[in-house]
Amino acid sequence: MDEQQNSIDKLLHDMRERAKELNCLYQVEELLTKTQLSLAEVLAQLVHVIPAGYQFSDICRVRIVYDGQEFAPEGFALTPRTQTALIRIEDKEVGRIEVSYASEVPQTEGSYFLKDEHKLLETIAERISRTILHQQLEQVSREWETAQRALSDKNKKEWMVIIELLRRTDQNLYIHLSRKMIYHLFWNGVMEAKELLKTLSKDRDQVPSELSEDMNRPSLRRSQLELLALSDETFRIAARYLSDTEILGRIQKWIQEDKAGFLSRAINNIDLPLVEIINAITHYHYISGGHYELSPPMEKGLRVSLIRRFFSDDLKFINIAKNHVEVRHFYDLVQRIIYPANGYGRLGGKSAGLFLAQKILSTPGEHSEVLDGLKYPKTWYITTDAIMSFLSYNNLEEVNEQKYKEIDQIRLEYQNVVQLLKNSHFPVEIIKGLSMALDDLGDRPLIVRSSSLLEDRMGTAFSGKYKSLFLANTGSKQERLDALTDAIAEVYASIFGPDPIEYRAERGLLDFHEEMGIMIQEVVGRRMGDYFLPAFAGVAFSNNEFRWSSRIKREDGLARLVPGLGTRAVDRVSDDYPILISPGIPNLRVNVTAEETMRYSPRRIDVINLKTGTFETKEIPALLRECGREYPVVEKIVSVYEDDHIFSPSAINLDFERANLFVTFEGLITRTPFIKQLQTILKTLQEKMGTPVDIEFAHDGQNLYLLQCRPQAAAAGNVASPIPKDIADDRVVFTANRYISNGKLPDITHIVYVDPEKYSQLERSEDMLEIGRVVGKLNSLLPKRQFILMGPGRWGSRGDIKLGVPVTYSDFNNTAALIEIARKKGNYVPELSFGTHFFQDLVESSIRYLPLYPDDPGIEFNEKFLLGARNVLPEILPESAALADTIRVIDVPQVTGGKVLRVAMNADLGEALGYIATPLAAADAAEEKGVPAEGPSEDHWHWRLRMAERIAGQLDPARFGVKALYVFGSTKNATAGPGSDIDLLIHFQGGEEQRRQLVLWLEGWSLCLAEINFSRTGYQSDGLLDYHLLTDEDIEKKTSYAVKIGAVTDAARRLSLKGE
């Protein structure tokens, strides 16, 4: 009993100590940010504040020494019970804080101070250092401004004023500039410079480290003075040989470059923790006063390094990002990053996607006007390694091994893991960061999103596996902070959830070191009554994989819109529907009649209830009655149904009590630029990112906000499936080449085939209705999602039932695919339905739709199999045996010796193929469902590079007038997929005839390679080579592709030509 009591006491004690420390930290922070106080005043007050954070605060005394000054309470004396932390600026010690206990105190683990107290003092010291640095920098920039003003007055020998100033304030830079100047003079043949240079190199031999940064060491004092003298001499020489303007110009350029020098060194040093890099960026921002004037190669290089450091190593990402993300953008970014002490983490995939999209869309272009007013929610980031620091802070590292347990056990233990994490503490620096984040974000509701490394790696295939949580963010600061840390812990816990782990296990990603970044985003929207919500939100895709009309092209895109929070558009909600719009052709609606429009209109809305602080789903009519008057642009969101007529209302006289209101977004689509904006965003992002994208957005009634952006490539189940080319004729069941979407149905065991011919011969409508009923019965008997329905014309025809089997959605909701067969009748082919009667049901339940045109030229339709294979209908449904003539049920494994039907659909090729295949083993089946078929594989780029080398090896430079050949792009970067080109640059110096010959020769290669690639991968193209001939002039002027040659990053690689 006693022991237990003791341990509880200890626990309480520990917690009390922690609270004291945090409290102390807050107070320190508050003092440091009080701009009206001078530094001396701040330090003087700090010595009274700090003791409160200590275990024995009553006898705790603090002294701060800085710049020769001492700040301490009266009677301060150092005792043996002292703890010290240094105040450093740019690695130089400039002062220290000392904490002493005035009298004897008990020791813990051999120290007078607690472990956390050490950390506390370090943190305080660091904060003080940064504040001092900040103030110093401001001082310097003020001096600089004064000097500049002085210059503009005299307007004469400006450079002299500058170097004079430098000589006083920054001797290192002064010497650095003089060095540059010597080189410059030397290059221009100035003899005196040569002499100086000699003196210098002699010095270097003697003092090898003199150019290094530590020039302030006492032992180097003398050489520093000598150097200054040399420098003065240099500028005197310069003044004789160069014009004032030139000197000024040079100095300015070098100063700019030098300013960035430390930045570049910091960023390129992979051993430096993130904090150093963030400091360097901040520092650079201050000294450059926000005007970044970096030389283009340096800017490019820094961009790439920063992108790599903060976001991703992925070359594809870097290649795109470096063209849009500028060094200065990182300053704003790092202001909102929360990271563990000495961390090295990144921001994760989601953050990377949004950051890049924002930069792309902010680049001025022809679309700027349309995108005017596009905004991005204020976001804070927690780096990916914070989760590990969180776990180790709480000694929970063993949770990491969770993923290697049996899935059942993981499932069983998951709730415990969640509770465990939620009851753990965050390290002080994270708490501090979160507290700053909350102050910055204010009391708007927040969303805590995961942003993991795997999401980054895997594209969208991994999306939605981890949690996102909404927070009302109401109450006192402490309550808000508690709710936030709680939410972060819960999102962290989702890494250890059974679903993501199972998913990773299936894909062999279990050993990937998964770390999760966090995005803390303000929720877009406004308060309406007790609720907080955006006017509307949704998701949009560049490629429309669910076309409801033959007139919609894949690239017309697809948007899913809902009122309120976008959760209902992101996830498929089985009993509710978002509004679907194809931005490229917005006037073609899924639902046409008033009845359809109403039936497939959203009924519920997700909101944040500010009163209860919870996320809620409300009935739309109820919400409109409650706060319709406050709902922004509501007249553009709803339509009124009256007298069989549905119409978009005017803003006045909307009756929320009585009118029959339906969400249609009619006004939004027809009377606002919203769709145009959406389309521009999708088009621009797709073009610049070189891949179709998937975005999330929200609108508060005034502005459109982009919330998320990622490549669309691989939403599970909608991956373009390779079409095998080597299937024997008798194994092909059907092929199709019109209105194909992406996807694959791996193991279909049953085919329900309604024979179009027999069906059209039915005389009585009663018989046709009976076919519909049989289909409904089969739907409940056959294995879910393992059978397909094939039938004539329009499934679920509501008008004339001889045009298609009369079924409703519930009669086929278990099928894997709905296939409509359009057989030629005389000289006309009936128009198919595209599933429009229940299109939205198909979309929400992922049932594939495929139209077949068996009579089209080049189309295979294996009627022999469909009509010849044994019909098991009489066995399954003996009472319907009489209809066995018309409706056939084929048990595929039974008639093919254990094989299955596989349907591969590839919208990129516009082809689909249904064929008999060996069933995949269970594990393979999982892979079939999810792994993107297009991911870069070793094989594709390797083969391409080999081929490029072969081309170079056989290219006779003399015959074709070729000077050099380079390879670049995906082949060089090892990211080539099965459909990639081989990008070549050819430095051409020959004549017209040689050019003709060369093109002919290359075309031959191109065709051959395309053919080989086709047989390797099933990807068809008109040629595999994408080559560009460059002249000497091109290369000199670096026009278009010529910039690739010798570029700072991603330079084209030169290949050896024949005979080289």
């Binding site: 409801w548 006037n587 009256e642 007298d643 059209s760 329009r794 519930s810 009936p830």
Partner: protein, 428 residues
């Protein structure tokens, strides 16, 4: 092969032939009424949104205008066929005749799928349709109305085009317009109320006190809701309604033996006629499966949802207590079930009489438009009552006199009225 397959027009002709036989019509009359008087086929060129031009195929069939201007809807359907349109036009002739309104039968359509068309393109089709037949339609010739995949908006476009071409205001050219744009009040109630007006008269004739009756309603849409309302006002006890559950994609029957409370149910019904199951249970309703409505021990069945609901199978489940079936829906009863009704002596108010309240109200819309004076809702409904009541009695009288099944009697009276008109005009 083609002649073996299902053909709506053939079916309409067969139906007519049977009636003609019973009426012993002369060959010329038979020949005339078996086929439409006029059929218009025309092309409608439309400039599409993308700048291309597409040609749509349009129809108008005027089956018979012996009794007055033709009346009938315009359908937009991708697989529209002339046979379907002809059949529907024929049925319109009989429907108008059975309620004795001075109109003939017509139907029209365009082969198109509105799902593939923008609203602007649909507007062009509507206007193109009118341009092609402007000489052959009009308030005094042939009056279109909304039908499959067309609605009030399409009607307004068509009216506007007609008025542009003729240079005058003719709201009576078309019906189904919104109130305030030439539409009539009372249209929402018309069909459901019409069912109950005929039911009231049937019970009176059968000597049954409506106040002592119970009834089961299939469906909870517009028709059913208003039918229940009026039936209850007359003192009857509705014991169940059935409705479609969107979430589960199936129907349920909501039963309260002591009588359902319409207001209470409407309070827990979404805009699609779906009743909240849990809440209904809370209110003391028994929630049973879809077919429970037909098995109820009631005096009256009102199928007011889909076609073919009372068929060879389901008819067996009907309680012996049932005395009257009032067909609110179109074609809810199959011929096999009709035979059972005859055998069991169940009184049927056939669909095209029972649910003719809709077309009657369209006729009222036309009348009001032509005189450019609009009635109150009460006025519309009381006139509707008059029309439905006398229509019922005419059919009932004939059925009694000829000892005919009500459905047959209704056909006989309709056909004979049309035949008579043609004869008087000296056509045959």
């Amino acid at each position: 092969m083609a002649d073996k397959s299902f053909n709506a027009f053939k079916m309409a002709q067969q139906q007519f032939d049977n009636v003609a036989e019973k009426l012993d019509l002369d060959p010329a009359t038979r020949e005339l009424l078996r086929n439409p008087l006029r059929e218009y086929h025309f092309a409608i060129p439309v400039k599409m949104d993308d700048g291309s031009v597409k040609i749509f195929q349009g129809f108008r069939v005027q089956h018979n205008d012996g009794r007055g201007p033709c009346k009938g809807g315009i359908r937009f359907h991708p697989q529209e066929t002339i046979d379907t349109v002809k059949a529907l036009a024929t049925w319109m002739t009989w429907k108008c005749a059975v309620v004795d309104i001075p109109l003939g039968g017509g139907k029209g359509g365009v082969i198109c799928d509105p799902h593939n068309l923008s609203m602007r393109e649909q507007e062009q089709i509507c206007r193109g349709w009118v341009r092609q037949v402007v000489r052959n339609v009009g308030p005094l010739q042939d009056v279109p109305a909304p039908d499959v995949m067309t609605n009030a908006q399409h009607m307004i476009w068509m009216m506007d085009e007609y008025e542009r071409l003729t240079g005058a205001k003719y709201p009576g050219f078309i019906t189904g317009k919104p109130v305030g744009m030439g539409g009539s009040l009372g249209r929402t109630e018309a069909t459901g109320f019409g069912v109950i007006y005929t039911l009231r008269e049937a019970l009176r004739e059968l000597g049954i006190d409506i106040k002592k009756t119970t009834a089961a309603f299939q469906g909870f849409g517009n028709v059913s809701q208003y039918a229940v309302k009026l039936y209850q006002e007359y003192g009857g006890t509705p014991v169940c309604v059935s409705c479609w559950d969107q979430k589960e994609s199936k129907s349920y029957t909501f039963i309260k033996k002591s009588g359902i409370n319409l207001e209470e149910l409407l309070g827990i019904t979404d805009k699609f006629g779906g009743i909240d199951k849990a809440k209904a249970k809370g209110l003391g309703y028994e929630v049973a499966d879809a077919e429970a409505w037909i098995q109820q021990e009631v005096d009256i069945l009102v199928p007011a949802a889909l076609e073919n609901q009372i068929n060879a199978e389901t008819v067996k489940k009907i309680s012996d207590k049932v005395k009257v079936v009032a067909e609110g829906a179109n074609g809810p009863t199959t011929p096999e079930a009709d035979e059972v009704f005859k055998k069991k002596n169940i009184f049927v108010i056939p669909d095209f009489l029972a649910n003719a309240g809709g077309v009657t109200c369209s006729y009222f819309e036309q009348v009001q438009c032509n005189m450019n004076y609009f009635w109150t809702k009460e006025e519309v409904l009381s006139k509707l009552d008059n029309v439905m009541t006398s229509a019922f009695h005419a059919v009932y009288g004939l059925a009694k006199q000829k000892k005919a099944y009500m459905r047959d009697a209704a056909y006989m009276i309709a056909v004979s009225r049309v035949a008579q008109a043609c004869k008087l005009r000296g056509w045959v």
